[in-house]
């Protein structure tokens, strides 16, 4: 395969890179008036989105390192997750218009968008990476941009604290992951996941070393999806970072982490996929038991820790940990059905989680805090935000008639198909627990008397964004077939077997 053919697989990444360069250049040339920069970012997103949609079913690997398979894989699965990342990026750019935190940093706005595009580029490569070295590189590209963004606004000391914590935990887990990668390289002599798959089928792999390496590599992945016990950074960083970045981390970088985990397992360990879409996974390392334990711990800890949170951002951070636990359920069944469920859930999670964070941001613009006591009586003085926040929170709980219910439903069906009813029961109990802390917000908004509740002004743009997101949450709760069909058609991962 020649270079131009290989490059045709990375067209979306090229578009993102060009946008990144253009953003930096415009920042340097027009440093007086930076209002044009968000529009440039949006244009870049739209162009990338069109390229992605046009090549949606493109399947193949590029950049071969000697073997039959390359280090970059393009398939519908990757394109679906990239689409999720792009939609999230688009919404984050829109969110920034009404964000007080972002509007105060007008002089560095160019850097802000350039760093966001750095994250997008890292995520795109992470989603498509089928080589351990590319996985590590793209993960670092994603992480390095997000460390800076977590402490970007420097308004309060909590910003810099968030950045430091994100950096230290991130650097440790990427160091662990790299050591694991070096061990895998030593055992197999390659870093390509396709080749690793066939090389680890020999009996002379030391199982203990291999298990050690896998746990180390999972430390890196688990950090990105904030799975217990690699979740320690999540509450602090989510609380300290600017809300737009928090929302972005909770959706986009988590989606990229999940795509990485799914591809890692599918390409590296699945040897055969039967007609029903169930994967035959190598038994060198018992991924299924390992992931069941991680998943149950993640959702239980996330939900129970959220019960005591009085800061809404912190509560949503723990809720996003719990959601990572739910989504791991779709991964650990090792079937195309599970992947479909995870993809569908990510689409829904994108809408409802970004919506919830956006409403919290609009209220924080006015009240200056995310404390739950500041929400007392807000349901009456800010009826629109109150009702929409209620919709998002009910959807996050997973109650009908919202999209969150359908998302959870697909996950549980995939679990029951894999005959893991016990895990499904634990997940349902967890959802019930989560009802308490989501409804607690509604209780503060509607049932607590407060005569001094502030009136929250909502701009036209904010009004329409919230309206679209909340309508979508309700709409996809009733008419979800197009999205589920789309997710089903995208559950095609290029792998062996």
């Amino acid at each position: 395969m020649n270079l131009s053919q290989a490059l045709s697989f990375v067209k979306p990444e090229i578009a993102v890179s060009i946008t990144l360069v253009v953003l930096v250049l415009f920042d340097l040339i027009f440093h007086k008036d930076k209002r044009i920069i968000p529009y440039l970012a949006m244009a870049g997103i739209v162009v990338t989105g069109i390229i992605l949609a046009a090549n949606f079913n493109l399947t193949g690997t590029a950049f071969k390192t000697g073997g039959q398979y390359g280090m970059f894989t393009a398939d519908p699965f990757a394109n679906f997750v990239k689409m999720i990342v792009l939609i999230a990026t688009f919404l984050i750019v829109l969110f920034a218009y009404d964000s007080d935190e972002i509007n105060k940093i007008t002089d560095r706005l160019g850097e802000y968008y350039a760093l966001i595009f750095g994250m997008v580029l890292g995520m795109f490569f992470l989603i498509s990476a089928s080589d351990l070295i590319l996985i590590y590189l793209s993960m670092e590209l994603l992480s390095l941009s997000s460390y800076v963004l977590a402490g970007f606004t420097k308004l309060r000391d909590r910003n810099s604290e968030a950045a430091l914590k994100y950096l230290i935990y991130g650097a440790i887990s990427s160091g662990l992951m790299l050591f694991g990668i070096s061990l895998v390289y030593g055992m197999t002599g390659t870093t390509n996941l396709f080749e690793i798959n066939s090389l680890i089928q020999t009996p002379d792999i030391n199982l203990y070393t291999f298990a050690f390496a896998m746990i180390l590599i999972f430390a890196g992945i688990g950090y990105k999806i904030s799975a217990v016990p690699f979740h320690y950074w999540t509450p602090d960083v989510y609380e300290g970072a600017p809300i737009t970045i928090t929302a972005y981390l909770s959706v986009a970088s988590k989606a990229a982490g999940f795509a990485l985990l799914i591809r890692f397992l599918r390409v590296g360990f699945a040897t055969y996929v039967d007609k029903a879409g169930n994967w035959q996974v190598l038994d060198l390392f018992d991924w299924q038991t390992f992931l069941i334990i991680i998943s149950v711990l993640t959702m239980t800890l996330g939900n129970f820790a959220a019960l005591w949170q009085d800061n809404l951002k912190r509560m949503l951070a723990y809720s996003s940990i719990a959601h990572a636990g739910y989504m791991l359920l779709g991964v650990l069944v090792f079937s195309d059905k599970g992947v479909t469920a995870v993809l569908f859930y990510f689409f829904v999670y994108l809408i409802m989680n970004l919506g919830a964070f956006y409403v919290v941001m609009l209220i924080a613009n006015k009240t200056g805090s995310e404390d739950i006591d500041d929400y007392d009586g807000l349901g009456y003085t800010a009826p629109f935000l109150g009702v929409t926040l209620a919709i998002f929170l009910v959807s996050l709980t997973g109650l009908p008639p919202t999209a969150g219910f359908i998302g959870k439903f697909y996950l549980f069906i995939a679990l029951l198909d894999a005959k893991m009813a016990v895990v499904a029961v634990i997940a349902v109990i967890n959802s019930v627990v989560s009802l308490y802390y989501y409804i607690r917000v509604l209780k503060h908004m509607y049932l607590t008397k407060n005569d001094n509740a502030p009136v929250v002004p909502v701009s036209k743009l904010a009004f329409s964004i919230v309206l679209v997101l909340s309508t979508a949450t309700l709409f996809f709760g009733i008419y979800f077939t197009p999205v589920s069909d789309w997710a089903k058609s995208a559950a095609v991962i290029l792998g062996i077997g």
């Binding site: 000391d157 810099s160 950045a163 430091l164 070096s182 002599g189």
Partner: protein, 103 residues
């Protein structure tokens, strides 16, 4: 005569890795924590180079080590910038003291 072989390098890298992890866990100064992280990355580098030399795996491992060195430099640059920012805010780089984000 002692011939230095793969095992020696692996013991060295395991030692460096553990030392790095130990440093991260026990040191309070953010700079020392970052130094522990560098040790971990370099332990992996030794692994890559040693495996690629003694396993006859070609040049892949050494290229990986090169990539990691570059990334470690980039990470150190960003890490020091963030630590500097912390120092400006708190006049202190003790990771145990910087703990305002708690309920």
């Amino acid at each position: 005569m002692l011939v230095v072989g793969l095992t020696h390098y692996l013991v060295l890298s395991a030692f460096l890795f553990s030392l790095g992890l130990y440093g991260i866990v026990t040191r309070k100064n953010a700079i020392m924590v970052l130094m522990g992280i560098e040790l971990m990355l370099n332990a992996a580098n030794i692994n890559f180079v040693a495996f690629s030399r003694y396993g006859n795996y070609g040049i892949g491992g050494q290229l990986a080590a090169l990539f990691v060195i570059i990334l470690a430099a980039a990470e150190a640059a960003i890490a020091l910038a963030i630590v500097l920012n912390i120092y400006k805010t708190f006049a202190n780089v003790d990771v145990d003291d910087i703990n305002n984000l708690k309920e």
